[in-house]
């Protein structure tokens, strides 16, 4: 076998994240939460630094910070006191900048910032794989349970509420899942590119789908293809893995826009 172990682990880690990112990314697209996801992603760097400072496993602090930020944004969204757009920006960049400043205080500054910003999937350990597949399975299970209420909320919150859907709970569940996936995806594509892994495959899938379910599954498939293509390019051409995966996903999106469109749009 010509595939080295680290490539296999990278592919497994990337595919694991891409599979979950597919349907979750579809919801991000439907609910127009790309910027929201961006805020979660940026603040996860703060989580990493906190993990180093406190001396605990980074995924714990990353998840913790993601969940807190998700809740914070949710409360801001509800109160409608400030425009959410600016509020998200403040939280996102506030967390990112605070993380970078904190990092400079860490004595053992052998932390590879680049790896956190752009991913380090080639260095995925078996431990990472456990985290990704454990978290991924949990998220998928919750998603299947909440699929219909989540979709119903996307279509119309008020109607969903009248029809017996607990809208607040459904939205919070979605945010928590997003927080988990962002924490997991950081290893693969890094803080700055997580959102691309969420929205590019879903947007490509949109061009080819007739139902929400089709779009969600296709998004996973396109995500996995992007991961494999990106890793292949990284291996053959010695390009950075995370950005290569994102470039592959964007490439597939462009292809889908060019060739997928007509058959879906001009249906009877």
């Amino acid at each position: 076998m010509g595939i080295p172990d680290f490539m296999l682990r990278a592919a497994l880690a990337g595919a694991g994240v891409a599979i979950v990112a597919g349907p979750l990314g579809a919801f991000v697209v439907w609910r127009r939460m790309a910027y929201f996801g961006e805020a979660l992603a940026h603040s996860s760097l703060l989580g990493v630094v906190l993990g180093i400072v406190l001396g605990v496993l980074p995924w714990i602090t990353v998840l913790g910070v993601s969940v807190i930020v998700a809740l914070l944004l949710y409360v801001m969204d509800r109160s409608k006191r400030s425009t959410l757009d600016a509020g998200i920006g403040i939280v996102a960049h506030g967390a990112l900048a605070t993380g970078l400043v904190l990092l400079s205080f860490v004595e053992t500054a052998r932390v590879d910032l680049f790896a956190y910003l752009f991913g380090d999937v080639l260095a995925a350990t078996p431990h990472d794989l456990w985290l990704i597949y454990g978290g991924g399975t949990a998220v998928m299970a919750v998603m299947v349970m909440f699929w219909n209420p989540m979709l119903s909320v996307v279509v119309n919150e008020e109607v969903a509420s009248v029809e017996g859907v607990n809208v607040t709970r459904t939205k919070l569940v979605h945010l928590m899942m997003l927080a988990v996936v962002v924490a997991a995806a950081m290893k693969v594509v890094g803080v700055l590119l997580i959102v691309a892994l969420l929205i590019a495959p879903a947007s490509a899938a949109r061009q080819l789908s007739r139902s929400p379910e089709q779009m969600a599954i296709l998004a996973s498939v396109i995500g996995v293809i992007s991961v494999i293509a990106g890793l292949w390019a990284s291996y053959e051409l010695d390009t950075p893995a995370g950005p290569s995966i994102v470039v592959a996903a964007i490439g597939l999106f462009v292809l889908a826009v060019c060739f997928g469109n007509r058959s879906v749009r001009s249906a009877p």
Partner: protein, 285 residues
């Protein structure tokens, strides 16, 4: 052109205010949003088999009251009592579906019914036929016209076998002929299903003919009762102006008259009034 729905057509008679017919009963409802009073001392009720229309100018709190009645919004004061196990079918004022969400009519109809038997395709086709949207089950939601969308939303609400239908501006985005048809359809649904219907409207002419009771709202209930009584109420004139009130009164006069003589050209009369034709004005003078 089809005739307008008429109030006086024969239909199932409703018992007078008997408790077991009561679907929703709101009493002394007050809502404040951001320190501003939106509703105060509002009482309203809907019984099964009747069509109640909530009218009032823009910003008068109609949709807020509907949200309170639906249980989506908690009032700051007052009570809303609902019949136990009340099933509500709700059609919102506006439904704009994300363009990024691929959704067929058939899939859309599944949302309201959960895992019940009305999920079956046959049931969904039947309810689409009931609302005059047959053949649309495989159409995409984004391709529907305003009238088709209203019918499809109505179908989704009906699939829940509701005791109460709540329709917020049911003719929004529908052309004038289509509007009459939708009101006709609403009356037919009430007649065949016997459910209660609560409508919100700021459009006066057509809705007056299609309703049993009117609640005129302007942050509080200005007047309520049968349409012909409400249009003569000074409070109604204050809100909508004497001109509109007079037009509506004329409208009812003609309406009753054609019924009595039993063969007058109803559509002609209607076109006179509901298009706001100034000619209608002179009729009544």
């Amino acid at each position: 052109m089809r005739g307008l729905p008429t109030r006086n057509r024969p239909r199932i008679m409703i018992g007078q205010m008997t408790e077991n017919n009561m679907l929703l009963d709101a009493d002394g409802v007050a809502v404040e949003i951001g320190g501003q009073s939106i509703l105060s001392q509002v009482s309203a009720h809907v019984e099964s088999g009747e069509i109640v229309t909530l009218i009032g100018p823009n910003g008068s709190g109609k949709t807020t009251l509907v949200r309170v009645l639906l249980g989506v919004l908690k009032p700051n004061a007052g009570r809303v009592a609902a019949k136990s196990g009340l099933r509500i079918g709700y059609v919102p004022q506006r439904l704009s579906i994300e363009t990024s969400l691929p959704l067929s009519v058939g899939r859309f109809l599944k949302f309201g019914v959960g895992r019940g038997p009305n999920r079956q395709r046959g049931k969904r086709t039947a309810v689409l036929t009931e609302v005059g949207a047959q053949g649309l089950i495989d159409a995409r939601m984004h391709d529907l016209s305003g009238g088709e969308l209203q019918r499809v939303m109505l179908a989704r609400a009906l699939l829940r076998d509701p005791d109460l239908l709540v329709l917020d501006e049911p003719v929004q985005g529908v052309d004038i002929n289509g509007q009459a048809e939708i009101y006709n359809l609403i009356t037919r649904i009430r007649d065949s299903r016997g459910c209660g219907i609560l409508m919100v409207s700021h459009d006066l002419h057509l809705v007056m003919a299609a309703t049993d009771r009117v609640i005129c709202l302007n942050h509080h209930v200005c007047c309520a009762g049968k349409p012909e009584a409400v249009t003569r109420d000074p409070a109604f004139e204050n809100i909508f102006g004497a001109e509109v009130a007079a037009q509506l009164a004329i409208y009812h006069h003609h309406h009753d008259h054609t019924h009595d003589s039993g063969g007058a050209p109803v559509p002609l009369d209607h076109s006179h009034t509901y298009q706001g034709d100034t000619g209608a004005h002179t009729h009544g003078d």
